[in-house]
Amino acid sequence: MRPDRGSPPDHAARPPRQHAGGKDGFPAAAAAALQDSQLRHNLGKATTTIRAKRAQAVAEVPDWEQLRAAGAAIKAATMASLPEQLERLEASVTRAGGIVHWARDGAEAAAVVAEVARRHGTNEVIKVKSLATDEIDLNDRLDADGIHAIETDLAELINQLAGDWSSHILVPAIHRNRAEIRRLFERTIAAGRTLSDAPEALTEAARLHLREKFLSVPVAVSGANFAMADTGTVAVFESEGNGRMCTTLPRALVTVMGIEKVIPEWRDMEVFAQLLPRSSTAERLNPYTSFWTGVKSSHPPDGPQEFHLVLLDNGRTRVLADEVGRQALHCIRCSACLNVCPVYSRVGGQAYGSIYPGPIGAILTPQLRGLDQAPTLPWASSLCGACFEACPVRIDIPTVLVHLRGRVVREVGSERSEKAAMEGVARVFASQRRYEAAQKLARLGRGPLNKLGTVAPGVSSWTKMRDLPEVPTQTFREWWRSRPPSTAATGPEPPGGETLS
């Protein structure tokens, strides 16, 4: 390993990403992750802490519910007029001296970045943490063009050095603890030095490594949290100051932004600037919030002299076409839904096979990539509703999950045995006579109600940990019919003896 801090660190090659497609998809990846006690411990601790902090930060705001409603309304109105808002944004950015590019997919977006880097004669770009660029594997695409993208967010840097995938929208290395990070740094950017597990020591090592890059690399790449159509202003919310460095020091800045990040008016920021920090990091005020509008014409030059805004589709117009599913595009990437999710907080982010994990990932990934590419993700939820309760823009994730399950069943297909069982039981429930006959058969361990136990992977996965209840000798309706007619008139009878267990 190289001890010098000047050249790009040897970052490990990443293993292939967990595959969200195929019928084994999420359940198999989750099963493996659940056995990782270090991961369970790290995640459990982190999500419990942030959950409690967020609840407190939200409780302080008396009009939180009105803010949520306002956020949802602004996003819904924006989606309903998206083409118009994007054209307004293009006009304002152009007026302010920026250059707007429209990219259908990752290849087109990466080509813009590569062209800017080449024109500035650099084979390195520095990056602000950005989900849109991770979604399109921008770093790998640039690598193929001989350009090295340097992540400057601490957690992104950790994952890049470790050759690891992100496991959280906001805290991409949430699955790592400090001791693991110290060992990683001692192998890479701080080779030859001995560090401690103290946060100050770890961030110091990262700062020493990154500072030189901020001062020397001429091109930066960022994402955008918001872009205001009326003024052409782009906003990045971050906590480390690395984003501020990237958006001010280099000569050229390329922002790659999903088209759904546009908001109509500057004044809409009032709502989101309150919702986002409290929901994501439980902070009252976001530590570093950068706004920029095109390029500055001041003398001497201050800030980037060249600004490119890449408007990325990459499946978003397809999501927009689904009237129920499109609310997934309202997401402001706060990650509150991940932190409160009982599934995410146990299996971690990598099992979702996407840069967007957790509940929002379960509705976004299948829609962005196509349902056949991630057919198990809509089932990666117990529909407990904690995500909807936490979402600052009121995305009704459980409803979208159920909607997408239906689309998967109808458009991609389901296991033949499952489909047959479901159709059979639906016929039983359609008739009182058939239903009562099936209840009698169930008592004998037969018939369509019993077949439900064969819904893949079936009854054996139930009895791995739980006993099955015995089917009682009398249904409720049989008891009801057997009651003496006077019972109701003369008063109650004691409840039946058996309880549920």
Binding site: A30, V347, A426, G496
Partner: protein, 243 residues
């Protein structure tokens, strides 16, 4: 005399008839004239939540007709009551069925989860029950976050004679049942269940109770498998008890 039609749910009807018997005993003790429309089968929740909306729509149509005339529709299951209240309008819009939408809108204000009916309609906290056992209450996800029953179950439980009610740690977290989730994502479901069991056992309760027999089947099945000595009982069974 208040009249209520019992929406028993196919699950209780077939697997946990004691929940239905207790609900009837409880309501009649409180002076309610209970009716049981025998044409009822299933509300369609399993189909709807598993992606079989096409199969759920006829069940929703059947349900709204069976219960159309009821003064109040009372259900000892938060998730099935929630299905009717939350999902029927969406199913109607999915099917483009205006009549279903109209019929659903008409009955939805009369659909009550059991504790809602007791507290809001009958106006009672003390139902005259006696249950001298150590009990912990698990608020199921649908009672908490779909129906927003709030503290109604706890108010009812606190008034039970002889009960030793102990708070469940991390009570609001899902037990991991989730219908077909429990079989389709069995490993994750089990991981969630393990934590729920740990919290239940930490309370040293004899009985874990909840508003949904389905979640209790999941929790109770594991308590029994582990020979834990803790059992489950539906809220209705405790509120009907006069031990």
């Amino acid at each position: 005399m208040p009249r209520a039609a019992l929406f028993i749910t196919c699950f209780n009807d077939t697997l946990f008839p004691g929940v239905g018997r207790s609900t009837v005993a409880l309501l009649e003790r409180l002076g309610v004239d209970v009716d049981f429309p025998e044409a009822q089968t299933c509300c369609g929740q399993m189909h709807s939540n598993s992606g079989y909306q096409l199969e759920a729509v006829p069940l929703a149509r059947r349900f709204v007709r069976v219960f159309a005339a009821a003064e109040a529709i009372v259900c000892p299951s938060a998730s099935c009551a929630g299905m009717v209240r939350e999902a029927y309008p969406r199913l109607a819009s999915f099917a483009g069925d205006d009549e279903l939408a109209r019929e659903a809108a008409e009955i939805i204000p009369r659909v009550y989860e059991l504790t809602e009916y007791l507290v809001d309609v009958l106006g009672v906290d003390d139902v005259g029950a006696s249950f001298p056992h150590r009990v912990t209450y698990h608020p199921t996800c649908h009672s908490l976050r779909a129906l927003h029953v709030g503290d109604r179950p706890l108010r009812l439980l606190r008034a039970v004679r002889g009960i030793d009610l102990v708070e469940l740690p991390e009570a609001r977290e899902c037990c991991g049942f989730g219908g077909t989730f429990a079989v389709k994502n069995a490993d994750t479901s089990i991981a969630m269940l393990s934590d729920k069991l740990r919290h239940v056992l930490d309370t040293r309760a004899e009985v874990c109770t909840a508003a949904d027999a389905s979640c209790l089947m999941h929790i109770g099945g594991a308590l029994r498998r582990g020979r834990s000595g803790t059992r489950t009982a539906h809220l209705a069974e405790i509120l009907a008890a006069q031990e």
